[in-house]
């Protein structure tokens, strides 16, 4: 019976709509063994501390397929915006790709966590809050500023995507040393969804013409949010309003803070293998999981082939506003119905493969590959870094990150100990170039916007505080020792 229930659960996870959400952690954390959060990237890793208590930390990640410089082109000593004749849209399309430009951002807040060593193993626990927003802007959207809506033009907006998810995550992690070389670990992460909106657009095209516009739209929009939708007799949306039972802050906290609605589960699997005393390879497959949304479900399913020949206007009717008639016409044209279907959001799995070589006691070099499996593609990043820990209270990571079909960025991080209190800051994409942007209006000098990293497509950072207990004690490495060692 239990097996059957689990099977049904898994099947339901795989069925229905699947939209991917992914929160990214700075790659520079992967080799920062003094930061307990390392086990979130590879559950096989055991933090160097005997025990720790993680205080609130925050991580932010923003990724875009285009940078500011992609939208502002320089030709000679002049700069051009997309609304100017000289702007080269072919160059822009090279940056954003043929299909869509992605804009993703997420905020991760570790609320609290702790971990401790138990014999050969390491047990860790954490609670965190995650908000992920992924959008995809169809490339054809930029054709509008390029040339407008000329006659006989087809625009494909099918890649349009908007996904926003907020969820709570509990993490129970365990790592154990199998033998001197191999360690494995697992994170089991019960998830509880709070708010979600997700689009699943299978087709959305627009063909413009002087005499006729054709729109074909097929897809679904799902949401789990605290509002109620009322429909009219035709099943069209009549009104939406916030749930009446959520009046006080306590109501909101009870519903979204302490509630356990919309359950899900995710699993991280990791392993490390010590080839020799200097060389360690590791791998981890994270975020195998999903959230099943069952509460406050409202959505629309639409499937319409609409031809617009103009607003139907009878001159003898009393019409105040043709624009309202147009909106009514469009609203009635696309065939949609309100649905309250359950849906799933799947976490985008991430595969890490790393190799770490201890150059000296205090310095190691690492190479990391991160492969993120999105629903409609794969994103590949590489990181080459140096990890320095000259003293036990300070560590530094410096590296270069390369995103395939992107740029090379400087990344890194540092951590300081003030007694048991550890502060850490990590970032993958340090902006090393910046400009000041100014828009003048004739002779009038405009305001300056300084420090714009105009080449930057990605910003990722994470910072937080931990209380580390027994930071000098660890299992798989000797303590830093100024004494003799074959490494020197």
């Amino acid at each position: 019976m239990k097996v059957k229930k689990i099977s049904c659960f898994i099947l339901s996870a795989l069925s229905g709509v699947i939209v991917s959400v992914q929160a990214q952690t700075p790659m520079s954390l992967y080799f920062m063994e003094t930061v307990p959060q390392i086990s979130q990237m590879n559950p096989a890793y055991q933090p160097r501390a005997n025990g720790y208590l993680s205080l609130p930390s925050i991580g932010f990640d923003f990724r875009s397929d285009f940078a500011v410089k992609d939208m502002l082109q320089q030709q000679g000593d002049r700069w051009y915006t997309p609304i100017e004749k000289q702007f080269d849209y072919a160059l822009l399309r090279k940056s954003i790709g043929k299909k869509a430009a992605m804009l993703n951002s997420n905020v991760d807040v570790d609320i609290i966590g702790f971990g401790f060593r138990t014999g050969n193993g390491y047990l860790s626990f954490g609670i965190s809050e995650h908000v992920v927003v992924n959008t995809a802007l169809p490339s054809d959207l930029f054709k509008i500023t390029e040339s407008g809506f000329p006659d006989e033009t087809s625009l494909d907006f099918s890649p349009l995507r908007i996904q926003a998810v907020a969820y709570k995550q509990f993490r129970i992690g365990y790592s154990t040393k199998i033998n001197d070389k191999l360690s494995i670990g697992v994170n089991v992460k019960p998830l509880f969804g709070q708010v979600a909106i997700a689009t699943d657009i299978r087709k959305f095209t627009l063909h413009t013409g002087e005499y006729q516009w054709d729109v074909y739209a097929q897809g679904d929009i799902y949401s789990s949010a605290p509002y109620e939708v009322t429909t009219d007799s035709e099943g069209k949306i009549d009104d939406t309003e916030l749930r009446e039972d959520l009046e006080t802050n306590e109501d909101w906290i009870r519903q979204y803070g302490t509630g356990f609605n919309n359950p899900g589960i995710a699993v991280d699997l990791g392993a490390t293998y010590r080839i020799n005393e200097r060389f360690v390879v590791s791998a981890a497959l994270n975020n195998l999981g999903f959230i099943s949304w069952k509460d406050d479900l409202n959505g629309v399913a639409f499937n319409g082939n609409y031809t617009f020949n103009g607003v139907e206007y009878d001159v003898t009717d009393d019409r105040d506003d043709l624009f309202d008639d147009l909106l009514d016409s469009l609203e009635n044209a696309i065939n949609y119905h309100v649905q309250h279907d359950k849906f799933n959001t799947k976490l985008a799995p991430v595969f890490y493969a790393g190799a770490n070589y201890q150059l000296t006691k205090a310095v190691s070099a690492g190479l990391l590959s991160r492969t993120t499996f999105w629903r409609k593609g794969v994103r590949q990043n590489f990181n080459l870094s140096l990890y320095l820990q000259p003293y036990s209270f300070v560590a530094l990571n410096v590296g270069a990150n390369y995103q395939v079909k992107g740029n090379v960025y400087l990344g890194g991080g540092f951590t300081f100990f003030f007694g048991p209190l550890q502060f850490y800051f990590l970032t993958d994409y340090v902006p090393v170039r910046y400009s000041t942007i100014r828009i003048d209006d004739g002779n009038e000098i405009g305001d300056e916007i300084p420090y714009i990293p105009e080449r930057q497509k990605t910003v990722t950072f994470r910072t937080g505080l931990n209380l580390i207990f027994g930071r000098h004690g660890y299992v798989n490495k000797p303590m830093l020792d100024r004494g003799t060692s074959s490494w020197n």
Binding site: T81, F149, V311, L386, I439
Partner: protein, 527 residues
């Protein structure tokens, strides 16, 4: 250790290097904005002819007949009043009563006699009163008695009754000289008998006289005046009365601006005539139905298929209940109108004459009940004009509000950025006539700014016809600088030469409007 520090310093140096690039500066005035195009259908305009006429043409009585043809209908009411015409004339006269010359006393048998008087109406000797209920009237007797006499005089009029009591007036104490008595006749009923239909004044005189009575008759003078009747029957004679109404409005052409030849067919005229007067009439309009343009007669405008004259039977009355059943008749005629001199009528004049008893006196007495205006001949005339017509040119001009500067929000830059605008009209002319369209943009003073459309001809055809309106940059600028506020739409409709067409309710004009324009992205996009 040193190597560690070296590496650390190198790493820090690398991370500490921040390369400031050149500033990115834009000047909005130097921007050369991209041209973009826009092509889209705008509207499918449906102009249903019938509903449009209802909404915009000030024509009364618009409706659709059983055939589906749009018609306009006018109803007029005419009346011929007999109120002042039928009544009983005042009756007056006198008679002399010879008196005995020898002394008389009370035992002397009274002198009796009868005087017959025939009441008349309207000074027409042919008439007689058979029955009349008086609502007012005064009868006055004046008796001149020679001196030496005294006595009494009783005058009775048996045909004059009230509550079954005959009229009687008594001079109970006649004395020499003038004796006068007056009596109110209100409530009395006159009922005369055939064949004479007279009022018979029966008198009885009882006198006493001393010796040496003067000679000479006793003169009785009578006067019946101020007679008002409610119900009157008899024979009213052959009298003629005319209607006195004003001309009727006929506004079919009023709001239209037609030129040249215009004709209408299948016009129907119907007159429903009712009368509560118990008199047969011959109704006629000696001049027919005349049409006027203001004070000018439009000769032979309305060609009737049958002359406007007919006989109206008398109303009937239930003697017991007094309920009157009206006499009715109906006149119908077809007609047509044709004008070719540019004189289009706006008034109708119908002068109707009612001649009573056209065949003379009949077996049934005439009657009239004069309360509540039941003494009128009512004529309800219905003129139905279907849109079965021909026209050389029906012109119409409408002014449409079009504030260009308001449309572009007074944005000079926006207007400058528009290179050209093309408006395409795909017209399906479902109307049974050809149309010419012109449009002119004008300013608030009514001065023309730019011709938008010039005599675009749309024929009556099954095929879609295309009209293209193009405006270039300079024309658009003119719209702005000369502050276009309105557009004059001039429409001219015409039927194919000499052909009559019917306009049905389902006839409509359908115009698919599409727009194409090329414009630079507006420079104030940053605002």
């Amino acid at each position: 250790m040193k190597s560690n520090i070296s590496i650390l310093i190198a790493a820090l140096a690398l991370t500490a290097v921040s390369c400031r690039e050149n500033d990115i500066v834009f000047n909005t005035e130097e921007m050369d904005y991209r041209p973009v195009e826009f092509a889209a259908p705008v509207a499918k305009v449906h102009v249903p002819i019938y509903k449009s006429m209802e909404k915009w043409l000030d024509i009364d009585g618009l409706f659709v007949n059983n055939e589906g043809v749009i018609c306009t209908q006018y109803t007029y009411s005419e009346s011929i009043g007999w109120n002042s015409d039928i009544g009983i004339d005042d009756i007056s006269g006198n008679w002399n009563i010879a008196l005995p010359s020898t002394p008389v006393n009370i035992s002397t048998p009274p002198i009796t006699d009868t005087i017959s008087i025939k009441p008349s109406m309207n000074e027409n000797n042919q008439t007689y009163v058979e029955s009349a209920k008086l609502t007012a009237g005064t009868i006055r007797f004046s008796v001149e008695l020679p001196s030496g006499y005294e006595g009494r005089l009783t005058i009775k009029i048996p045909e004059l009754t009230r509550n079954n009591n005959r009229f009687s007036i008594n001079f109970d104490a006649l004395s020499s000289g003038t004796n006068t008595l007056t009596s109110n006749l209100a409530g009395y009923t006159i009922t005369t008998a055939a064949p004479d239909h007279n009022l018979n004044f029966a008198y009885e005189v009882q006198l006493t006289a001393g010796s040496g009575s003067a000679s000479g008759p006793m003169t009785v003078t009578y006067n019946i005046s101020n007679i008002e009747v409610d119900y009157l029957s008899g024979y009213f004679g052959q009298q003629s009365e005319q209607s006195e109404s004003d001309d009727f409005t006929f506004d079919v052409f009023e709001s239209l601006d037609m030129t040249g030849e215009v004709g209408f067919k299948d016009i129907t005229i119907q007159a429903d005539v009712t009368s509560n007067i118990g008199v047969p009439f011959h109704i006629s309009a000696p001049n027919g139905i005349e049409m006027y343009k203001d004070n000018t007669l439009v000769a032979d405008a309305l060609q009737l298929s049958s002359k406007f004259e007919f006989n109206l039977p008398a109303a009937s009355r239930n003697a017991g209940t007094g309920v009157v059943t009206p006499g009715t008749c109906k006149y119908e005629s077809n007609a047509s109108m044709e004008f070719d001199n540019g004189l289009y009528p706006n008034r109708i004049r119908l002068n109707v004459t009612g001649n009573s008893n056209p065949d003379g006196e009949g077996p049934t007495p005439n009657f009239i009940v004069k309360t509540n205006n039941d003494d009128l001949i009512n004529i309800d005339l219905t003129l139905t004009v279907p849109l079965h017509f021909k026209t050389e040119a029906y012109n119409r001009q409408d002014t449409v509000d079009f504030d260009f500067n308001d449309l572009i929000d007074d944005d000079e830059e926006l207007s400058k950025s528009i290179e050209n605008v093309t408006i395409h009209l795909a017209v399906d002319n479902g109307l049974p006539f050809n149309i010419s369209l012109s449009a002119t943009a004008i300013d608030d003073a009514g001065l023309p700014v730019e011709t938008i459309m010039d005599n675009e001809r749309i024929t009556n055809s099954d095929q879609t016809q295309n009209v293209t309106i193009s405006l270039n940059q300079s024309q658009i600028q003119k719209f702005r600088t000369q502050d276009v506020k309105h557009v004059i739409l001039s429409t001219s409709a015409s039927t194919s030469s000499g052909t009559y067409v019917k306009v049905y309710e389902h006839n409509a004009l359908d115009i698919a409007v599409s727009l194409r324009f090329k414009s630079d992205i507006p420079s104030n996009i940053f605002e």
